[in-house]
Amino acid sequence: MVVLMTRIFTRFNVFVAATGLVAALGGAAMAARQQPSQIVDISAERFSFTPSEFKVKAGQPVEIRLRSDDTDHGFRILDTNINVIVPKRGKGAVTVTFEPPRPGRYVFECSKLCGAGHSFMRGTLIAE
């Protein structure tokens, strides 16, 4: 009986260890997959984003770092759930990670009223 219990316990330990190893490897793989290999720095200023057009790889995450040179702006990618405030000059930056699901053109715009030329603040992310 004791021998049987020892074998079961040992097998259970091996199972747990194996499960943990698989989970760790899977997690590492997922982390590696989610780690953005594409980084884009965008500056926002009345009334433009620079760059206002850039290319990324579809199906892979892109890290978009936004900083303002004047007032606070908005950054919204149309037809997605991304919509953030870009802090005022000197108040830091905001980073957005976006994974375009398929190739195409994704329009982004300033979503916070920033002045007379607010409507001109648009750009395009091109996923290839």
Partner: protein, 368 residues
Amino acid sequence: MAALVTAVPLQAQTPAAPAPTERTTGISGYMDFHFNKPEFDDGRLDFHRFVLLITHNFSDRIRFVSELELEHAFVEGQEDAGELELEQAYVDFLLSRRFNLRAGMMLVPIGIINERHEPPVYYGVERPFVDTVIIPSTWFEAGVGVHGEVGRGWRYRAFVMSPLNAREFSAEEGVRNGRQKGSDTNIGRPAFTGRLEFVGVPGLTAGGSFWTGRSGFEFRPRFDVPVAIGEADARYSRDRLELRAQFAHVAISNAGDLNDALGRAVGVDPNVARAMRGWYGEASYRVISGTHAGDIGLFTRYESFDTQFRMPDGYLPLEEFDRDAVVFGGTYWPDPDIAIKVDYSIIRSRSSVVVAPNSFNVGLGWWF
């Protein structure tokens, strides 16, 4: 689709605030409060501008934008007493990044200041002289047009708008008083205006603009007074340094006939020029930046502007209107949207008789 948002403020990591979503109505505005002390005269305290912007997104593709401005705090029916102006009220049909439609009351896309005139974004209590007497900022008219952006930062606007009214041109202020301002305007012969600018390099905005229209519609018998305006400008900022330059030229054809007609109508020959010209260069530097107490920037600007640059045959230029100005001072931003400004303006003209007064100016402007 995966999306992740992180904010990285200077002091601590906090989540980004949610921004407005589609189908929203927004209200914003700016104000401009001035103290001006001209040489040889008493100081003046003036609540120069109170401006409200109201926008509404009908959808991602259709957007309404308006800008209502009260100048000099009080409206009595004369411009000197104050003005209530509808500077913008248009609907944008945003079809694509490259091509969009706009209709309504719109800003003329010319120069640095006309489309970008919120007080915290320019140095000096008053706007540059070139952006006042050569380019009549704030210049807005009713019209329709297209705009968009192509490539990596090439942006264009092309509008059909109401023309200037030559009956209101003057020697001192050029075409400024000829703006119809979208009020029951004559559109018998519409004006055309456009701008091409490049914003593809961080910190750089460079552009060129034009305006062309026929302005003699109020005269009987009618005769043509074609007006053409060309303009080029550039802004460049890197770290704390910012440089600006602008050049503008106004050409008025048939200026001699215009002077004759105005002389017959009002009894005084207005001496309107056939060409006006102005340019300026400005350098500024933020001597303090990124502190808790805010930023401080110093600037100097040289301007040359002449509303009698070339005269029609038989007319001599009045030298008092050939002017130069040096403006220097500073701005303190306790917040990026609040500007406390101080400057001193030295103006000289070619005339030895008519002296342009220097002035000391203090301003408080803010945007919300």
